[in-house]
């Protein structure tokens, strides 16, 4: 069963990440690298995303008319998506197990991928 793990964080998570020392940062990246290596068999496409302030939105109005292009991410406020990984595992419990061990902190949202039957 396919899921997407969305690696999210809020302002506090971002501040905590920014406060990491060089050594801590290196350690964190190593842990994240090890996590990906451990789950390589289950992980499909995965990417870290550029910061939310680099996002651009194309918004369609509910009453029709041309789409409006705006600066900034879709999710306003404090929560942001920092990256994602597609995974293929047996069920939600396996996805939960992967998410529980994610070294990147913040919040991991698990979304099932819609399957075409």
């Amino acid at each position: 069963m396919k899921f997407v793990l969305l690696f999210c964080g809020n302002d506090e998570d971002a501040a905590a990440f920014a406060a990491l020392s060089e050594a801590e940062l290196a350690e964190r990246y190593q842990e994240v690298g090890a996590w990906f290596a451990r789950h390589r068999a289950s992980i499909g496409g995965t990417n870290q995303l550029q910061a939310p302030d680099t996002a651009t939105c194309v918004r369609f109005g509910t009453v029709g008319g041309p789409a409006v292009v705006t600066d900034g991410p879709f999710m306003e406020g404090k929560e942001q998506i920092g990256g994602y990984a597609e995974i293929d595992v047996a069920d939600l419990d396996e996805a939960l197990e992967m998410a529980r061990t994610w070294p990147g902190r913040g919040t991991v949202e698990i979304r099932p991928v819609m399957s075409m039957r």
Partner: protein, 412 residues
Amino acid sequence: MAGTRHRGDPTGHVDAVAAATETAVAAVFRAETARLTAALVRVLGDFAVAEEVVQDALLVAWERWPVDGVPDNPAGWLWTVARRRAVDLTRRNARYTEKLALLVASPADADDDRLTLLFTCCHPALAHEAQVALTLRTVCGLTTAQIASAFLVSESAIVQRLTRARRKIATAGIPYRAPDVDHLAERLAAVLSVVYLTFNEGYLTSVGDDPQRRDLTDDAEWLAAMLADLMPTEPEVLGLLALIRLHRARVRSRFDARGRLVLLADQDRSQWDRPAITAAADLVVRASRMRRPGPYQIQAAIVACHAEATTWADTDWPQILLLYDALATHLPTPVVRLHRAIALAHVVGPAAALTEVDGLAAALHGFHLFHATRAQLLRELGRAADARRADADALGLTGNPAERALLEQRLA
């Protein structure tokens, strides 16, 4: 369903027979609903269809048994009807028909399925209120109307809650499986929390006698007993069962003849069910011998201290204080510290307890029991005016009619 049917009969004899049949039927329904639903969910992989099939089978039994008598093998009878109904309902779906062929007539080995059903209903990926509703619906076999009236919410809200929960199970990949050893403790805690929440809901809202309302404390005890049967070596399961039974053994003295709440100190202890208290206290001891203490066992031990005291004056407060200290290591919450302070008042005195309680103000100022406890301590310290103010604060924070009546009486 059970409890909603009434037959008129001037002699009362037919009523008595009907009532006996109702009791027998209700017992079979409760025992078999979880087994039936559990096995059907395994075979069909679909909660909604399984629930509908079970509901239909029970309705047929409800029509037939009072007329034909309860069959010799009620479980087998229900299995046969449920299987036939499942075939009817899913006739157009070849996938289901094949699976139904696998469903044996009456699997004696369906115990694991019941646990699987319960653990799936209480999966942490479901919202807490959805876990409760789904457990009552599929494991206990309550109708949506019964759940709605027990929780004082509209039936459509319950239907929506259940629909959303079933959809999440199906689309989010929640497995129909009991947890492995590594996750058992955490997952069991979620199940016990659902049972305890069900109990509390029934206990706190049981104001007077409303025969139309389902007694959730009964369902909670039944669930805990089933769990204890299926997981006899889990001490927290035994602890929760004992806790529920210790409360229920004393339920008759909680309200006076006019339906007013009676405080523990003023309760008529002759109304307590002594054999039930002794049996539940033994259960606490049995659990403690397994040497894996936990919050339910400790709470049960505290309640056992109260229940075993023949008078209020005989209460073993030093022991209760020790138990609250132990409880606070498992559940370091302000509410536990508030209860510990009440025990402290009896062991050390109201002044020491008031200092403790006042230290909880920031965390508990919105909780009526915080103010009611302060009021009691202030009264004991002779500060009547402060006590009245605290009682008034408590009154402003509770909507429970029985608790309101008690506080209003104090303020009168």
